[in-house]
């Protein structure tokens, strides 16, 4: 009999109205939450009798809670009822322990009172907001334009997007991921631009995540990306609201998560990783020049060490006459094969970079100087590595940091190693084979079922307007096709007055 009673009391599906006393209710909810010690009960007396307020101490702002309770007491005394406000909500007495527990976990305080044999439930929302201020993201700094960045609060992040896109078409959909962590996520898109197929696909993938916790958005990315074996990122990470807004208006979809200042944009193409808000803030000639420079840096970072190895070890005759003697002098007397030289130096640079990240700024700079200047100079003087190699590796390192996206940057840095090995084995032939394999891989790759090399393969003339060069903004009247937007037209002719004046 007693046993039966016990199981009965701790049944999480038991409804509130089935309880007899406040104490029973509290102890059941407390049991549901594992008798955690930060689950607080406060007895409150009001006009008609006793109420109990239950909440988790660390999730709530106690000042606000105090005000809310005071308001509750006063209005019960004056009117005998509480009105719904932004923070006040009635909770039905048919909710189960399970529902109540989840509410409490999501930072609601619940007030329960027994009045005339009926349960009166009120939920009070007053979450603590301890968040970083809005500041410029350190890894995506720009020269001109907005310097705002996302922070860890989903609320302020959505706020930042909303204020930039005041349209009825901006849709925000809440999802919850993480079986244990119950992290709230949002998917944002413009419903008059984004392709509904893509939206469904994105939501489906996020909902399919069976993870127990949502550690960060980079962690979630692996669950939803198209091909995890590819070295290329298939979702664009950004901490900049302006970048998100620009991409949303292209028909892309953003995923954001509580606790991560990063938005995950899809479907993207390879070239979106090489676009920076700076391209659009400046005038188009400058923007185009830097766009080209960045894409050139991709090739340099990927191929330059490989080309150097191929030329030194296989095709020395490719060097023009005037340069061949200095080149020969530099390479002569180096005891190691070019591949080893390059590998050692490249790995040193990676070491310097990795060491520099973790250290505080002043020490980080010292590491850079020691690593770059001292090691570089000493290694040449010791005759271990040729000074041509130093030039090549330094140029490669600089080029690889030009990419305005951190993930693409790491991709490029990793990919050059296979190229170096291929070059050391088969020279230019090996590089060509590697490049072909890479091209085929990029062609196969998809981002949210859209081709990754989009305006290039499949080729669209219209998409090419914002590819290698950036045409003036008023020329880009159509949206690029890679996100397959349902509304291709972006804008009309803004410069009709140029003809007007001629008349």
């Amino acid at each position: 009999m007693e046993k039966d009673n016990k199981t009965n009391t701790h049944n999480p599906d038991k409804k509130v109205c089935e309880f007899d006393s406040l104490d029973d209710l509290f102890s059941d909810v407390s049991f549901f939450l594992g008798n955690t010690q930060d689950f607080i009960r406060r007895s409150i007396s009001y006009d008609d009798g006793e109420a109990v307020c239950m909440y988790i101490q660390n999730l709530l702002n106690s000042n606000k809670l105090e005000q809310a309770i005071e308001w509750f007491q006063r209005s019960m005394w004056a009117v005998g009822d509480v009105t719904h406000t932004v923070n006040f909500k009635y909770v039905s007495e048919t909710e189960t322990i399970n529902d109540i527990g989840l509410r409490i976990i999501k930072a609601e305080a619940l007030l329960w009172a027994k009045k005339d044999g009926k349960w009166l439930g009120v939920s009070i929302e007053c979450p603590v907001e301890h968040y970083r201020a809005i500041e410029e993201p350190k890894n995506e700094q720009i020269v001109r334009g907005s310097h705002a960045g996302f922070n860890e609060s989903l609320f302020t992040n959505i706020h930042q997007v909303r204020t930039k896109l005041r349209t009825k078409h901006l849709v925000v959909r809440y999802l919850t991921i993480g079986k244990e962590s119950n992290t709230s996520c949002v998917i944002m898109y413009l419903d008059n631009v984004a392709n509904q197929m893509n939206v469904e696909e994105y939501i489906m993938r996020v909902q399919a995540i069976e993870s127990d916790m949502a550690f960060s958005i980079g962690y979630m990315e692996e669950f939803i990306e198209d091909d995890s074996w590819s070295p290329f990122p298939q979702f664009l990470n950004t901490e900049r609201p302006d970048r998100v807004v620009a991409n949303l208006s292209e028909g892309r979809i953003a995923l954001m998560m509580e606790g991560s200042p990063t938005a995950l944009l899809a479907p993207v193409n390879f070239f979106s990783f090489y676009q920076s808000p700076d391209d659009f803030n400046g005038r188009f000639l400058v923007g185009s020049f830097y766009r080209l420079l960045r894409l050139g840096s991709f090739l340099i970072a990927l191929l330059l060490p490989a080309l150097y190895i191929a030329i030194i070890s296989f095709h020395f005759e490719i060097i023009p006459n005037d340069l061949s003697l200095p080149a020969k002098r530099a390479v002569e007397g180096i005891p190691y094969v070019p591949l080893l030289e390059a590998l050692v130096l490249e790995l040193t640079i990676e070491l310097i970079r990795e060491a520099g990240i973790r250290l505080p700024n002043p020490i980080g700079q010292t590491i850079g100087i020691v690593g770059g200047l001292v090691i570089g100079d000493a290694v040449v003087n010791a005759g271990l590595i040729s000074n041509l190699m130093i030039i090549v590796v330094a140029l490669t390192a600089i080029s690889s940091f030009v990419v305005p996206s951190v993930e693409m940057n790491t991709t490029v840095r990793i990919l050059r190693f296979p190229f170096m090995v291929l070059a050391s084995m088969f020279g230019l032939f090996g590089i060509a084979i590697g490049a072909t394999l890479l091209t085929i891989h990029l062609i196969k790759l998809e981002s949210l079922r859209s081709p990754y090399l989009s305006p290039l393969a499949p080729f669209h003339w219209k998409g090419a307007k914002d590819l290698f060069v950036r045409l003036p903004s008023w020329k880009q009247n159509t949206r690029s096709a890679d996100a397959s937007p349902i509304n291709k037209k972006r804008q009309g002719n803004s410069r009709w007055w140029t003809h007007e004046r001629e008349k």
Binding site: F314, H315, E317, I318, I319, P320, N321, S324, F426, G427, L428, F429, G430, I431, A432, I433, A435, T436, L437, T439, I440, H441, I443, K444, R449, S450, P451, L453, L456, A457, P458, F459, S484
Partner: protein, 364 residues
């Protein structure tokens, strides 16, 4: 948008271009020059016209049977037993094309950059990317071809360097070799254009606006012909014809002779680009071989068939050790290729008239 197995006319255009421009482009000016001398470009043009006529025949066939693959047409016209036999013959044909182009590739690489590297290594390097691409569907293949086509203007620009010091006198007298020689020159010229049969096989995948798009793609051969004519004229204004006949890969020798301030041996760069283009042509044939096998066994899986074809052709390419036996295979293949590219499609078309098969005319 993600519709499988459907390509546009433009994509078909580039598939054909990339299938046609293959291993042969390096030796083609010499091969034709041996027969037609300074009038090789006339032979090439005539060959282009011939091939264009064959392509028109294909177009006719394709619009007569809009819902069939080529083998479907063959089966309908010849009956299933003969159809299977013909398909088997095509399998042999494609596999030997694979073998010949692999060997040709190896010969150039071995004689130009890697003298010591074993044959199996070079062929393996050639085969790996080919398999990686050919096992995908036709849409991805088309995208690849289109992307690779950006290399063609590069070849064009490098070749144009010759025109800083051209010797147009080498081309004279126009028509001086006589009609006989020019007509005989058509034969090696057509072989250089081989790959136009891709139209017949890949044309099936063009579904939207079929007639219009097919017509667009028919210009691929004209494009390749003009590119070849350009290449031939370029080699001939650089080399005197007597020299040209001795030089095995005239384009490469031109590159070797040209000097740039930044790079000395531009031929190595050219060869690298050519390698990718040759690979692209090889991929088409690998795809076709696998596709034929697939349809031969009715329910074959494409990926598996690609592996089977590459293994067979890879082993076969390693077998013949002497160059002469390889040359023999090449010449047999070339002389029979017209059977597969022209004769069988023509007979198919004739049979379809005789047997009065209900050919649907699409109007979209």
């Amino acid at each position: 948008m993600n519709a499988k197995n459907e390509i546009t006319g433009m994509q078909l255009f580039f598939i054909i271009v990339q299938t046609q421009i293959g291993v042969g482009i390096l030796s083609m000016p010499t091969d034709i020059g041996k027969i037609a001398k300074q009038d090789a470009w006339i032979s090439m043009m005539l060959a282009g016209i011939t091939v264009q006529i064959i392509v028109l025949l294909y177009m006719f066939l394709l619009s007569k049977f809009p819902e069939d693959t080529y083998y479907g047409m063959v089966n309908k016209c010849f009956g299933s037993i003969f159809g299977k036999l013909i398909m088997f013959a095509y399998i042999i044909y494609f596999l030997s094309v694979l073998v010949v182009s692999m060997t040709g590739f190896y010969q150039i690489i071995a004689s130009w950059i890697f003298f010591e590297t074993p044959k199996w290594v070079i062929l393996l390097l050639f085969a790996v990317p080919a398999v990686y691409m050919a096992r995908e569907n036709v849409v991805l293949l088309a995208r690849f071809k289109m992307l690779i086509s950006f290399l063609l203007p590069l070849l064009f620009v490098i070749l144009s360097w010759v025109y800083f010091h051209p010797q147009f006198l080498y081309l004279l007298p126009v028509g001086g070799t006589g009609t006989q020689a020019i007509l005989e020159g058509i034969k090696p010229a057509i072989f250089a254009l081989m790959g136009f049969e891709a139209y017949l096989f890949f044309g099936y995948y063009v579904k939207m606006n079929r007639k219009k798009e097919l017509r667009k793609a028919a210009f691929a051969t004209a494009f390749v012909t003009s590119f070849y004519v350009f290449t031939i004229i370029t080699t001939q204004v650089f080399f005197y014809i007597e020299e040209l006949i001795i030089v095995p890969y005239p384009v490469l020798y031109i590159m070797k002779a040209l000097e740039f301030t930044l790079l000395e041996r531009i031929d190595l760069i050219f060869l690298t680009i050519w390698m990718i283009i040759a690979l692209s042509s090889f991929i088409s044939f690998l795809f076709l071989a696998a596709n034929t096998l697939e349809q031969f066994f009715s329910k074959g899986k494409h990926t598996l068939m690609v592996y089977i074809s590459i293994v067979i052709s890879y082993i076969a390419a390693l077998l013949p050790t002497s160059i002469s036996s390889m040359d023999k295979l090449t010449s047999i293949l070339l002389s029979t290729s017209l059977v597969f590219t022209a004769a069988i499609p023509l007979i198919t078309l004739l049979l379809s008239f005789i047997r009065k098969l209900p050919g649907k005319d699409i109007k979209s």
